[in-house]
Amino acid sequence: MRDETRFEITVTVNGAARRLRVPARRLLSDCLRHDLGLTGTHVGCEHGVCGCCTVLLDGRPVRSCLTFAVTVDGSKITTVEGLAPGDGRLSPVQRAFAECHGLQCGFCTPGFLCTVTALLADNPAPTEDEVLEGISGNLCRCTGYQNIVKAVHRAAELRAEES
């Protein structure tokens, strides 16, 4: 089998420009995890259902397992590693998850954090139904979602307090 063509791409990941050469079929999830070493983005199904691999692409949550790295050339990506403000503190969403015990094994957590961060940016004070709809594409096998829902409301409060 012939060597695969590699494509040169530049992506801004968590604020830093990264230049890479990737085969066309390289999934963004693998590119982040294995090429860039950002292993916080997890992979739970590779067919778009679990949401573990959710990252922010130009501010919007997307499935990195259903995105080819080559197609995001020139985009901005935020992964779980880039959610905290950077001064050693956690973002309101991260803090709310800790406070409300919104995680157990932590495998689904990065996907939830990215999804919820975007949800609250869009809708700073979601209703219960909007919270459920907002996280409805992310599976968690550990928490039964009770405390995740709580954490989303709490994160909305924390954001409001801080702005």
Binding site: G44, H47, G106, R141, I148
Partner: protein
């Protein structure tokens, strides 16, 4: 003890790293490792005629291809059968790679190693295996017919057959008691197959440096993987280390060991002299790990006018899939835990554990209990219905009473010990539940029903766990235990125990689990045993260290150890705070080797008393350092209990089913961290809701798993899980120093029973099979009314 953290909802210490992408799961390690992938059988049952790899040889990135023929003799043997049982007369385990026959879709046939997973899959796609299909056996009833065999040498497909009988108070057997009972019922109950399905699949990563082998595995038991790897690969135990790093959920499936991949990946690493990693993908997890739950149960019951059980006779067909690596734990647990909080009179239970051409069955959270509880609780509801009595009242009439403890059910439990319940208060628990859900005021309406389910769960089985505690000269407390964590918050709960026992701030305590470098002897995380067994071991180790700290400090402070206390990490004479010494100093003093590496050591030398030149520096029976190791080995299980209730609503036209309220009363003895326990219950209930309304493994008649994806195996999202209301009762266990019982599996156990109960109430149709979908409810309505 002033630093009282035991019992507090302390925030989790593992969270910071997990929230910032700092978790380290197996696939996050070994970035430069070679990748393994497997060619797996597409057939449920077939003979392998030929394996042709020629088309794969020129794939870019290929490193190695292995079939069974390539394995050395000791590696190619059948995998170990972990828990033999006399009734398991025909136990069979798989080979790491199939040799001549494959027995389920997904069985590994060829192992491929390549530069990355993409290339490895390219290679797999080009390997041609020629199969001669054989007749598959699918489902327990086809198995029991014995027409076709899964294993040629297992007649009737029966792996195990066991009859257990407990005579009633009058000495009569169950069948006799039922014959003469005022009322009898008989019926059949079915639970379908499901699976644990953690979001992180399995994974193994191995490094070999020519002498030492290090294996990382996403496992629930690193110590046992280590022993297995050492034994199978022939590497001396001291040269093998196994580490369970962060694990993305287990729920039972990761207790099985060694998986074929846990043998093959280290073997390939040794053979190639390269790091090798295998990360299970979702499709593999569906067809190549393990399932559970599938069981058919025939029940006959005799009872009196008050609904009191006189005799219960249960016959179980248990489908254990193609192999029995984990013995027959699941049907044994079903047949014993079925008894629940009740006195059943005379009891007879018989099970046949059967081979089918499907994925093997090993425990999944609850481990046979959901089936048993479904059986018993459906029985209670049917008795109530027959007698026209309140369902809660019938249950109460059969309860073991608080004064009956310890209560001997007269059977042998999964740990091989007598099934003796240690403590509990079931009548009180029922009162709490009725109040929480509003049982007595419930307004029944068409399409609206209420249901209830009770269970008792044996938790914290032995044989043992260990705890090691070390206080270093910087005053830090390092705790380790051998069992592993998959999200249960052990780093927090165990730190709470240590901080409380030692009187130190929790910030100074760090906990390591599942690393065989730190503690080589451990059993594993399953059967709701971590908190009970490791928790107590750690408490004992802390007590030992505390005692030594007091002794050393007493010497230096010229005080009586009995007058000393430890507060906030400082040892001081009670009532005389100026006579004190921080634990950091005590740690230095505890080691006669007093090189002044740091200020603390330098400072500590001033306390060193004059040594007696006629005695060795380390006294006989003593050890240098402020550390201690203790093992806790429970005499038998402790018995947690719970009762759940639900209100469901059904749509009269579409047959949609909605759980509108879900209430839990739970008793796991003393709570170490109520927040964590609550979280375990939430998660369990959600898995239970999945099992009741959404999740099933659907095999077609060819033995193909037709829904092997998250698109079609319907794990609930947040939108499918009801709000869960909880209340706690605490009846401490008299069996262990901390008075705790396990909580890990509790939430999932009664959910199918509770939902069935509520649905039956709403619909007036017997619900005897779970899970149930709207389509199935629709058909029950049209045929049942």
């Amino acid at each position: 003890m002033t630093t009282k953290l035991f019992g507090e909802p302390v925030q989790r210490r593992e969270d910071h790293r997990l929230l910032t992408g700092g978790g380290r799961y197996v696939d996050d390690l070994g970035r430069d490792a070679l990748a393994a992938a497997f060619v797996r059988s597409p057939h449920a049952h077939a003979r392998i005629r030929d394996i042709d790899v020629t088309a794969a040889l020129d794939v870019e990135g290929l490193v190695a291809i292995y079939t069974w023929d390539d394995l050395p003799e000791r590696v190619g043997r059948p995998l170990p059968l972990l828990i033999p049982h006399p009734a398991l007369t025909h136990g069979r385990t798989a080979l790491p790679l199939a040799r001549d026959v494959v027995r389920h879709v997904g069985e590994p046939v060829v192992m491929v190693v390549a530069t990355d997973r993409y290339a490895a899959e390219d290679v797999c796609a080009r390997i041609e295996v020629d199969y001669e299909p054989l007749k598959p056996v699918v489902g327990p009833e086809q198995a029991v017919s014995g027409v076709h065999l899964v294993h040629d040498d297992v007649p009737g497909n029966v792996g195990a057959h066991l009859v257990q009988e407990v005579p009633g108070p009058d000495g009569r057997g169950a069948r006799e008691a039922i014959e003469t009972a005022p009322h009898t019922l008989s019926f059949r109950l079915d639970i379908e197959r499901s699976a644990a399905t953690p979001l992180e699949g399995r994974g193994v990563y191995a490094r070999w440096d020519g002498r030492d082998l290090r294996v990382y595995s996403s496992t629930q038991t690193s110590t046992s993987v280590r022993m297995a790897v050492s034994a199978v690969l022939g590497v001396p135990l001291p040269q093998v280390e196994v580490i369970a790093p962060d694990v993305g959920g287990g729920f039972g499936v990761k207790i099985v060991h060694p998986w074929p991949e846990e043998i093959l990946v280290p073997w390939a690493a040794m053979t190639l002299g390269r790091e090798v990693k295998w990360t299970e993908d979702r499709r593999e997890h569906f067809v190549a790990s393990a399932h559970e739950r599938g069981q058919v149960q025939h029940v006959r019951v005799g009872f009196d006018d008050d609904g009191r059980l006189l005799g219960l006779d249960v016959t179980i067909l248990h489908d254990h899939g193609a192999y029995t690596p984990y013995g027959i734990i699941v049907p044994i647990v079903t047949s014993t835990q079925l008894l629940g909080p009740y006195k059943v009179g005379a009891y007879r239970v018989e099970f046949s554990s059967l081979y089918t051409n499907t994925v093997q069955v090993t425990p999944y959270r609850g481990a046979g209990r959901p089936q048993g509880v479904f059986c018993m609780e459906r029985t209670m509801d049917k008795i109530a219905r027959r007698l026209g009595k309140d369902r809660a009242e019938v249950r109460a009439a059969n309860f073991i009473q608080p004064e009956d403890f310890p209560y001997d059910q007269g059977m042998t439990f999964q740990d091989g010990r007598p099934l003796i319940y240690d403590s509990g208060d079931y009548p009180r628990m029922l009162r709490m539940l009725k109040e929480l859900i509003g049982w007595d005021d419930f307004e029944r309406a068409p399409g609206r029903g209420i249901g209830i389910g009770c269970y008792v769960e044996g938790t914290g089985p032995g044989p043992y766990e260990g705890g090691h505690v070390q206080i270093t000269s910087d005053g830090q407390v390092h705790v380790s235990t051998g069992l592993t964590s998959q999200g249960q918050g052990h780093e927090t709960a165990f730190a709470q125990i240590a901080a409380t026992e030692l009187g130190v701030p929790i910030e100074r305590v760090s906990v390591v689990t599942g690393d065989t470098r730190r503690l080589g002897y451990a059993v594993g995380t399953f059967a709701s045993r971590a908190a009970v067994v490791s928790g107590n071991a750690i408490a004992l180790a802390c007590r030992k260290v505390r005692e030594k700290a007091l002794r050393v400090a007493a010497d230096a402070l010229e005080a009586d150890p009995a007058d000393l206390e430890i507060t906030e990490g400082v040892v001081h004479v009670a009532g005389a705070p100026q006579a004190s010494m921080p634990l950091s100093t005590v740690a230095v003093l505890a080691n006669p080797l007093r090189y002044a590496f740091d200020e603390e050591t330098a400072r500590a030398t001033q306390f060193a008393g004059a040594a007696d030149p006629n005695r060795p520096p380390v006294a006989e029976g003593d050890e240098p350092g402020l550390e201690g190791r203790e093992f806790y080995s429970p005499i038998r299980c402790t018995f947690a209990a719970g009762m759940h209730a639900a209100i469901v609503e059904t749509d009269p036209d579409t047959a949609e089913i909605r759980i509108v309220r879900y209430a839990v009363v739970h008793d796991c003895g003393n709570l170490i961290n109520p927040m964590i326990v609550e979280g375990q219950i939430h998660g369990g209930v959600a898995q239970g809701v999945g099992g009741a309304l959404y999740e099933r493994m659907v095999y077609d008649e060819h033995g193909q798993l037709v829904n092997a994806s998250f698109m079609d195996f319907l794990m609930p999202y947040a939108t499918e899980v009801p709000h869960v209301e909880t209340a706690h009762l605490q009846t401490p266990s008299p069996l262990n120093p901390l008075g705790i019982k396990g909580a890990g599996e509790a939430g999932v156990i009664p959910v199918s029973a509770v939902v069935a109960s509520a649905l039956e109430d709403a619909e007036g149709i017997p619900i005897d099979r779970m899970p149930i979908s709207p389509s199935e409810l629709f058909h029950l309505r049209t045929s049942g009314r």
